[in-house]
Symmetry: C3
Subunit: 239 residues, 3 copies
């Protein structure tokens, strides 16, 4: 379901469950892989990708959510909070994280991609899309805040309100992904970028704390006072 390999400083996590739809079992397998990665020492970076030729992750496991009784997807009642908490862990993961988007990334799959530090997307096919509004759903506030803090304002609006399906080249121009690559070179491009960034992973305390200060409780960038006020009263804002 989730494959994890290590070569030198680079961990490669491969989602390998068909369309990689999110259910509780999938969330926990993903979290277990993160435990292994986080238990390492020294320079390190994480590359996340998927085994499918067509899908990075196609969103929630809707068939499971609508079904009843025992299911390989696991406990339905805890899913929402466990999935969201996993995304909260990923967005502050204490080493560089690179997402190689090898195919469609919809809804929860798009969220997972955005929680990485760097996104490299296949150039020839595949869309990233938050399609909630087309399904008659409102995006929950934590997901909305995630989109809001990761992409420029104009791309944010088109993404959440208009459910735009972004191709790789369009996502690059909009600032949603940082690079595009062919299907053949996607993974090696991601590993190269991970190798460049792995030294930053050596100091996990600092690397994680920097993300926490951007995205965590009382995040500095969300204060009700602007930067001029904060610069003038910097003693109030010591870590």
């Amino acid at each position: 379901m989730i494959d994890l390999e290590r070569h030198g400083d680079i961990f490669t996590l491969t989602m390998n469950d068909g369309e990689n739809r999110w259910n509780t079992t999938f969330v926990r397998a993903f979290a277990d892989a993160l435990d292994t990665v986080e238990a390492s020492d020294g320079p390190a970076a994480l590359v996340t990708t998927a085994a499918s030729d067509k899908f990075f992750s196609n969103g929630l496991d809707l068939e499971w959510r609508k079904s009843e009784g025992p299911h390989r997807g696991g406990d339905r009642t805890v899913f929402g909070e466990e999935f969201m908490a996993l995304m909260g862990r990923l967005i502050t993961f204490p080493m560089p994280t690179i997402c190689a988007i090898n195919g469609h990334a919809f809804g929860a799959g798009f969220m997972a991609a955005l929680c990485h530090d760097v996104r490299i997307m296949r150039s020839d096919r595949g869309f990233i899309c938050a399609n909630e509004i087309r399904l008659g759903m409102i995006i929950p506030p934590p997901e909305l805040a995630l989109f809001r803090h990761k992409i420029p304002m104009n791309a944010f609006f088109e993404t959440v309100q208009l459910a735009r399906r972004w191709t790789g080249p369009d996502a690059l121009a909009a600032g949603i992904v940082q690079q595009v690559a062919s299907r053949e070179t996607l993974l090696e491009t991601a590993v190269e970028r991970a190798t460049e960034l792995a030294p930053l992973g050596a100091n996990r305390k600092v690397y994680g704390a920097q993300k926490e200060s951007m995205y965590g409780e009382n995040a500095a960038i969300n204060n009700s006072h602007g930067p001029a006020y904060m610069l003038r009263h910097s003693a109030q804002y010591r870590h």
Copy 2:
């Protein structure tokens, strides 16, 4: 003053009062047209444009504001709040809204354009500009917040502090408009885009609530806690 036509699912609101300067009478005529649009059912989208060859809307009706006594512009004392409230209604309008900027959009005209979901601008002439600072005025907080939430940070600063006059191509590159078109094809381009988006207007409750969650009271994207905190405590943030 305000013309409203319906063809299939698409409403076209045409501002038809010369330079389309905003006074209380104009605000109320615009609001009446929105009432008609909102009273419809089913898939729908709104296209807003202007009849002039030169102006989309040239800003406030300054001649009226400086004059005294009876005037076709109407009650001067209620204007500020009624205009701002109309913009608040437009930015959360419960169906897709497309603005075809056929000429200059200054000050209040720029605000009206920004309150739409999609902006398509004439490529060959016309500027959009918030010229308040050149007139010795500070932009009021609600207008500032509007600019702040619709365009990227660098474009926001150039717009409000430097009163940059954006051409169509420059506005496109800066993320202020989403498309440009020639004068001849502008309206049909807007109607095509409206037709694509009209299905989203069928579920007005969801479409409006999504905008409200971005721009309304206690808007999720403005919380003092960052997305990682919210993702970790998602149960606190249910709608």
Copy 3:
């Protein structure tokens, strides 16, 4: 250390202390120059640049900070707050400010550049970079807020978390600088831009208040309510 010249309406402040590393003496010399500029009347704009062929400003004076006893760098205990306060003054300076980035701008040097209204960067060499995380340091909240409010979200993340070294052309594409120019034409390009903007400096009260409303205490753009709420209740948000 800091040279200041005036030609017509344009003040040119040249940092002339080698790598232009920030210590208390440098901060105070910079502040003294700003006092002179601010004491002027009428249309005005400030151009800031450096004398070196290689450096705009290479960051904090680390040699001074690590040393003990008397030093030309001055009092070490007051540096942090005085430097931050100077940046708070610069970001709200009541006339147009143009930064001509003639070489490397690292850490504190990048902060100083960002506190200007317009940045023009040398196209052929030099990096701007916030390299704190590579040095094992977390960016303090006021500096983080500065980055957060001046550049688009995607560029913000790459800057603070990945310590990206931006070239001039890359910084232009990312919205961090507004123009690039060759070494030979950089200063004249900055002076031309300053001359265009100098009329805005004539009304210093308004020009400074506009920046204050974006970046100061209870900055409008940081409110917990979104623009739709504020537009609907505009009477609450009068200056």
